[in-house]
Each structure stands twice: as structure tokens, then as C-alpha cells.
Amino acid sequence: MVLKIDFREILRIFNERLRIDQSIIDLANKYGYLPYMISRYIDMLGFDETIRLLEAFDNKNMYKPVIRCNDLRCSCRKITESLERLGFKLSPIEWSPYSYKILRSSSTPSIGATHEYLKGCYYLYRDAASLIPSIALDPRPGDLILDTCASPGGKASHILMLMRDEGLLIANDISRSRLSALKANLERMRFTSYIITRYDGRRIHEIFNEEIPKIILDAPCSAEGGIMFDPGRKRRTSYEDLMKLVSREIELLSSSVEALAPGGYLLYSTCSIAPEENEFVVSKILEHYKEKIEIIHIRNNIWDRGLRKFLGIEFDPGVEKCIRIWPHRHSMEGFFICLLRKR
């Protein structure tokens, strides 16, 4: 049965542990944040490292857009040579094949408007962290994979490339406008092994009952890891709003667990550094499904591990196997990635 927890209940759990004193309010005012956010950062990182995180969120130049070559369609060498001729400076990303950071851009055309882009030779990301979830899921040719919230298609197209466009990817989303971007991206890149569907991810178990061997759920989140790209996020999401997202994330993840075949793998990720949306969500799922679900160690985690403790709450010990990306430590958007397996 799908796990649903009312946001008010979650809010109560965290609210009673949140401590906001004058020093936190002063720091929040200095950097333009809501005080509850600063309070949580200090709990996770301590005061000095919180300052480094806030400085990293204010320094957009630290982050570089990324392209991932579609080697099924174009030669990666030719793409990089062509882009360099146009004035772009690229640097390969060691941990992600066919992926390059754009260190310097050309004034015209923009990286999202070159002929190579229109021909489907590469996908454009605003940051490298988005590459990690698809790699962690480890797609193989011939796999059947569900991407529960697939738009705009960065992970879906990456998965299809790793599958060598063999097998089937069911790329689902609920937002019609975002689905048009997903469709355009998969069409542009000329993949063939996919179906795009529109359905509420919280009810995806109504379509698939324990039958999908690999699922990726990159959940719609508060984007608390992407403040460098959206500074308005510093003050936009109240703690109550955050808890509404947490409630939805639990439901989304639970529905995907129900759709997952026994022995199958489920990759959960968010572009948020909020433990409420990450370790807490995963812990609640583990608690609900007990022995049916376990967290799997992700190979080649060169980043940080999940947090065991937050605001005095102890999470499931397995969350240490998850990946945490911190902007100030890894010069990437904040991200959380966790691989689950159904027994």
C-alpha cells in the first residue's frame, strides 16, 4: 500500500526541533534567506561551513553548464572540435564519459542553438550533478526502465544513451508543458526505444504492479540545491511549503516502490540539499516497507555520503550509502542520489 503522510504531521516533527535564535536571524538577513534555512544549514555543517555554503550559493561563476555528446548519433570528437571552432572552451568530465564542462562560451550562437544541438548531437545541462543519477542506475542495453518524472529529458536521454537505445524506456510526467520539452528532446536526439506518457507519478503503481526492473524517480523538489541558479529560492519556500513537497515525495517514491519488480533497482534523486526531502523520505520508505527494501551502495561515490542525523533525528543507517553533493565542497548544484533495491 502506498505510503501517505500528511504534511502537517511532518511539519510537527521538524518544527519542534528547529532552533532559531538572533544570530541565525542576523545571518539569514545578511545573506537574504529565510531563517529556518540557515538554522538547518548550521545543524548540518556548523557555522563556518555554513558561511562557505552561502558564499558558494552566491557565486554563480563556480558552476559551468555541461554538454553530454550523443555518441549514438554523432562523433563526440567532431562535436567538440566544431564547438571549439565556434569559440567554446570545453573540459572533459572524468567521471562521466562523453560529457564536457563548458569553461568558456561563444557570444553567438549560444550552446543551446548550434546546428549540432538541433541535429541532436548533444544534451545541455546547467550543471554536471544531473549526470550522476542516470549513471548510478546503471542502465544496460535491453533494459525495461521507468522514468517516473522524466521531463525535460536530461536523465531520460542519458538513460537511453547508456541503454544504447535498445530495450524500452517509459518516460512519464504529469506536466503537459514540460512533456512537450521531453518529447522535443527525445525526438531531437533521435532515440527510438521509448514511450512518453502523461500520468500522475503518485499513482504509477496503478499502471505497473511490481513489474518494472529499473526505475528512476528524480522527484520534483524544492530545488534547495540550485539556489545559485535561482536566488529567489532563498525566500520563496516556507517551511510549510517544503513539508508539502516532502509529503508528495514520499507518495511518489512509495508509488514507484510498488511499481518496482522484486529484485529491481530504484534510483531516487532530488536537486535539493534538504534532509527532509532526502534522507527523511528514504528512511520513511524503509520504515514502511521494512525488509522489502534496502539501500544499495553506489559504486564510485567520489562525493559525500548521506546524513545519519539531522535536528536530532536519527535516520536509517543505510542512508550513508546515498550520495550527497554540496555546492561548496564539489562546485556543483546540491543533489541527493540514493539507490534502493526491492528484495
Binding site: 536530461g154 524500452l168 514540460r178 520539452a181 527525445l186 533521435r190 526505444s193 521509448y194 506518457t197
Partner: protein, 205 residues
């Protein structure tokens, strides 16, 4: 096996039974059309899917996708796209997609019913403009006035779009040498890859 299914507004057919595509391929490849069909089946699949009654969007896909398509439709899931977009029926005429034509050209290694364009022509065509005589590079018959043909980038032979040919091949050969015609259109733009920029909301992740 002829298997036409009608599910709500979605029509599924076998590739050989989808006459608009067969007629188009026969016209380009004559006796070799069976080789083209076999290649399409091998590379992509043998099932044609229209997501609306009028076949505004036509897809080619494999049996595995059809199994899941059936399942989705039984559960009232909206299907937005699948397989590869191969074209549209516009004013009762089959308009192939650049995607389909490129797969055919690359698979069979023979370009038919196409023209290639110089650099400025490629750029302008991708902006949704027509191809002009001065940007015309090579011609790949059969080419008849009124045909829907492919426009290729001369640098890599990728199909950047499709358009309606505005003159017959013989006349083009003559007019191409006439300076007075250099700024006149020869291929009217019907569909080009620039649509992925013009029609799409950009969600960068």
C-alpha cells in the same frame, strides 16, 4: 500479418499496410523499396502508430512498445509519443520527417529525393526560411516540382529539414546558372530542425 487496431483515437498498423509511407518510399527507391522497408523494420520496428485520427503525427516503433501501449491505453494513460517520429499527413499528403529520411539515407547509403545546401542556406533553413537557388549545392533525383524532399547539410549529409520543391529537376539545372534567380526560393520550408528551438519551452536541468 495485417493488424490494424483502433484504440480511442490511436491507430496501430503494420508498416507494410501504411500506404502513404509505402508509396513515398517506392517513388524514391523503385524496386529497392523492399530493402528500405526491411532496414526500417530491422533498425526501428514494424509498427506504425498514429496518435490521433488524422495522423498528424506518425510514429514507427517496435512490438515491445506496442505491448506497453496497449497496457497504457487500457488504463487510460495518455500517450504523447513513442518510437521515432516519421512524419505527418498534411492536406491528405504524407510529409516525411527529417528523422525518417536520415535513417533511410544512412541505412541504405543512397540519397534520393533530396538537395544539399551551402552553409548560409543551412542556417537560413534552420531559421524556418526557404532554400534559395544561391544556397543550392547538389541534387539527388528523383526531383519533381511539388515533391516533398529532404534538405541536407552539405558538410555532413544530415537532414536538416524537408520542403516542397518549387521546380522540376531540368529547370533547376538551368535556373541555377542564372544570376537573376540566385535569390529566388527553390525549396519551400515545410519542416526543419529549428522547430526544436522555436516551438519548445526551454527547461534546462
Amino acid at each position: 500479418m495485417s493488424a490494424e487496431k483502433k484504440m480511442k483515437y490511436i491507430v496501430v498498423k503494420d508498416l507494410e499496410d501504411f500506404s502513404p509511407l509505402i508509396i513515398y518510399i517506392k517513388k524514391l527507391y523503385f524496386k529497392e523499396y523492399e530493402d528500405v522497408i526491411d532496414l526500417l523494420k530491422k533498425k526501428i520496428g514494424s509498427r506504425i502508430v498514429c496518435l490521433d485520427e488524422n495522423c498528424k503525427e506518425i510514429f514507427l516503433t517496435k512490438d515491445l512498445s506496442i505491448n506497453y501501449l496497449d497496457k497504457m491505453l487500457r488504463k487510460n494513460v495518455e500517450v504523447i509519443g513513442l518510437g521515432i517520429f516519421i512524419g505527418s499527413i498534411i492536406k491528405k499528403r504524407f510529409v516525411p520527417s527529417p528523422h525518417l529520411l536520415e535513417i533511410i539515407y544512412r541505412s541504405i547509403n543512397k540519397i534520393r529525393g533530396a538537395v544539399s545546401a551551402e552553409k548560409d542556406g543551412v542556417k537560413n533553413f534552420l531559421y524556418g526560411k526557404d532554400l534559395l537557388y544561391r544556397s543550392l549545392k547538389d541534387l539527388y533525383p528523383p526531383l519533381e516540382k511539388g515533391d516533398i524532399i529532404a534538405v541536407l547539410d552539405k558538410d555532413d549529409y544530415s537532414v536538416i529539414g524537408v520542403g516542397e520543391l518549387l521546380e522540376d529537376l531540368e529547370k533547376i539545372m538551368i535556373l541555377k546558372r542564372d544570376k537573376r534567380y540566385e535569390n529566388m526560393p527553390i525549396v519551400a520550408n515545410v519542416m526543419d530542425l529549428g522547430i526544436y528551438l522555436r516551438a519548445q519551452h526551454m527547461f534546462i536541468e
